[in-house]
């Protein structure tokens, strides 16, 4: 990671807010911090405070020197705002788990969100779905995995039923968070998210996830995908006749997308 980017954000946040970099994508850099942006320090809101409760995530879109400053400003603002809006709206949907949005500064490209997940035992790394599935590779078809994957499918179903698309569903973009001893999946990174009523977008979403699972967990992919789709269908099946019809459309398009690949063929 480029030191310059870290210096950029450190200068913006000042030394009062210590940050630890955790990952870098093409567009944004992600940090953790212990400081809440507006609550007073030391105010313990929850009595049984765990260490994760006081951690926050900062997603920062650094200034890109290659593009013209006015394009850069407009894009940073537009994308940060878009992601914040989607997060805020999704957190109001009943049953859907996404990290809570805490603060956003669209002009500086900064979003504060709730920190989720923990470190898995035996140094399997952070508790995203990818590491979780690798942790269970010795017993891939156990009940725990099945339950979790059905829940993941359920979350995606809820997202699509409410006409939102994620745009970049992979196993690293699902974080598992312990809740009363059960793993609850949370969808993260809505940088490419959108609202969409098109079956095409939903079909592509499902296809991208299927490909991601096949490429990272190829040996058990068939079963994993089956469980995810089981959870996905359950959302639509609960919605009566209308839900059944919508699901049929999406699954049909999913099948088509699978046959032609993510890209529409450029023939004709």
């Amino acid at each position: 990671m480029s030191q310059e980017v870290i210096d950029q954000i450190a200068a913006y946040l000042t030394s009062n807010i210590p940050i630890v970099p955790i990952s870098q994508g093409a567009e944004a850099v992600v940090f953790t911090t212990n400081v809440h942006p507006y609550e007073p320090i030391n105010a313990k809101t929850s009595p049984n405070d765990q260490s994760t409760k006081t951690k926050y995530v900062i997603k920062y879109r650094p200034h890109k020197k290659y593009r013209h400053p006015s394009i850069d400003r407009a894009l940073t603002k537009h994308r940060t705002l878009g992601e914040s809006k989607i997060l805020a709206k999704l957190s109001q949907l009943p049953g859907l788990h996404v990290p809570k949005l805490i603060a956003t500064d669209v002009y500086n490209g900064c979003i504060w969100i709730e920190f989720l997940g923990e470190d898995l035992p035996d140094s399997f790394g952070f508790s995203n779905l990818k590491n979780y599935l690798w942790m269970h590779a010795s017993d891939p078809y156990c009940d725990d995995v099945k339950k979790t994957l059905i829940k993941v499918g359920h979350q995606i179903g809820l997202l699509h039923w409410n006409d939102y698309c994620h745009g970049d569903l992979t196993t690293s973009n699902v974080v598992l968070h312990q809740d009363n001893g059960h793993w609850e999946p949370y969808l993260i990174d809505f940088g490419l998210g959108s609202t969409s009523t098109l079956v095409e977008d939903k079909g592509v979403d499902l296809y991208v996830l299927e490909r991601a699972i096949i490429s990272t967990h190829s040996r058990f992919a068939a079963k994993y995908n089956e469980w995810i789709m089981q959870g996905f269908r359950s959302v639509y099946e609960d919605e009566g006749k209308k839900g059944q019809q919508k699901m049929k459309d999406i699954l049909k398009r999913f099948e088509e997308v699978r046959l032609r690949g993510r890209k529409r063929s450029m023939l004709g």
Binding site: E4, G25, K64, K65, R67, H68, I71, K263
Partner: protein, 385 residues
């Protein structure tokens, strides 16, 4: 293990000779290359390090008057008229007196415009029968990639292929050049060419080059004309941008003072010049290209970029790409100049000779059918690991 030496050169020589014929668009190129037969190529992936020697690289471009594009029929006629002269010139420059010495003749199989492709393949078949030299059909995009790799020695780069007919971000994986992102409608070169047509600027030496020169003359670089920014994940779309910037240019020429972006609403004074439009268009389009390239690099964990294709000689694009790479650890940009960026025969000879050395030749003239649609990821890349 890749063994590039399975098929030895003709007549027990210690080098290969290949002739490449390219004519998928308005350029007709003929190139002759030489690969030495080296023991190190017997058991390793050194396809980017063939120690290629260019014996000749000749090209003729069909240039149309300002405001006009090249039509398939006229382009094909141009290629037919020049094919014999260029092949003769190439052989003479290379100092080859007996053309049956050639190991292989390579031609562009696709993608491209139907009629021009066809006139070139007729030439290739004729030469093949006349001199008794086997043919190799080459994918045009793979030709660009292999040429770029050989010239720049980039081992495994993310490739940005930008030309008049194609806009793709490509990375190699498992014997296939996979397309990570591409245009959903028109290619970037097409977008620039068509804008040049609206502006009625000359097509000589190339429309994109003239737009680049106009953009340098822009005096008001701080104030950009706002254009749509249409990146969709790893893909992009350019037809909307072209339509919008075209309408701005037309308003400018017609002195449509109602357009408040171009003319001051009170005084009617002109606020934007043609140079400003060219500058803004370039900045906007190239920012999109660099962004999808950066996404692909993050996706495949690579830090090398190779820019190929006609638009790749644009210095501003190379600058922006270099700036993006500086912000990534150990980022490197590889680009070539107009001799190799713009369609040429050498690139077809280079990719074709690699195919030939892996034994991928055409035995029956019935297999030499050219196709307008031939995707980069349909080619089995046998010469890489």
């Amino acid at each position: 293990m890749v063994n590039l030496n399975q098929y030895p050169p003709k007549n027990g020589r210690n080098y290969y000779l290949a002739l490449g014929l390219e004519g998928s668009a308005n350029k007709l190129g003929v190139g002759i290359v030489k690969h030495p037969l080296l023991p190190k190529h017997a058991d390793s992936d050194l396809s980017h390090h063939c120690e290629m020697e260019i014996l000749s690289n000749v090209r003729d471009t069909y240039v149309t008057p300002p405001g006009e594009g090249f039509l398939p029929r006229d382009t094909a006629r141009h290629h037919r008229n020049w094919a014999v002269r260029l092949v003769r010139l190439a052989l003479k420059e290379a100092g080859i007196s007996d053309p049956s010495e050639l190991d292989t003749i390579c031609f562009t199989k696709g993608p491209g415009m139907g009629a021009p492709l066809h006139s070139v393949v007729v030439m290739a078949r004729t030469l093949s029968v006349m001199w008794d030299v086997p043919l190799v059909g080459v994918n045009h995009c793979v030709g660009h990639i292999e040429m770029g790799r050989e010239i720049t020695k980039a081992e495994n780069p993310v490739v940005l292929y930008v030309s008049g007919g194609n806009t793709q971000v490509i990375a190699y994986s498992e014997n296939c050049y996979r397309i990570f992102g591409e245009t959903l409608d028109i290619a970037i070169g097409n977008c620039l060419d068509r804008f040049a047509r609206t502006l009625r600027i000359p097509n000589e030496p190339s429309p994109g080059y003239n737009i680049e020169q106009l953009a340098y003359k822009c005096k008001n670089k701080d104030c950009l004309v706002e254009l749509p920014y249409t990146v969709k994940g790893m893909d992009l779309s350019m037809s909307g941008i072209l339509g919008y910037v075209d309408s701005l240019a037309k308003d400018l020429f017609n002195k449509n003072t109602k357009n408040k972006l171009l003319f001051d609403s009170q005084t009617g004074q002109q606020l934007v010049t043609v140079e400003d439009l060219c500058y803004s268009l370039q900045e906007n389009l190239f920012a999109m290209l660099v962004e999808i390239t950066e996404r692909a690099m993050a996706h495949v964990n690579s830090n090398q970029v190779l820019i190929v294709g006609g638009v790749g000689c644009n210095v501003r694009l190379q600058e922006m790409m270099a700036s993006m790479c500086r912000d990534r650890s150990n980022g490197q940009v590889h680009a070539t100049d107009e001799r190799f960026c713009i369609d040429n025969g050498v690139m077809i000879a280079q990719a074709g000779l690699l195919q030939f050395r892996m034994g991928n030749t055409i035995n029956d003239l019935a297999e030499t059918v050219v196709t307008q649609k031939f995707r980069t990821d349909e080619v089995y890349v046998a010469w890489r690991e």
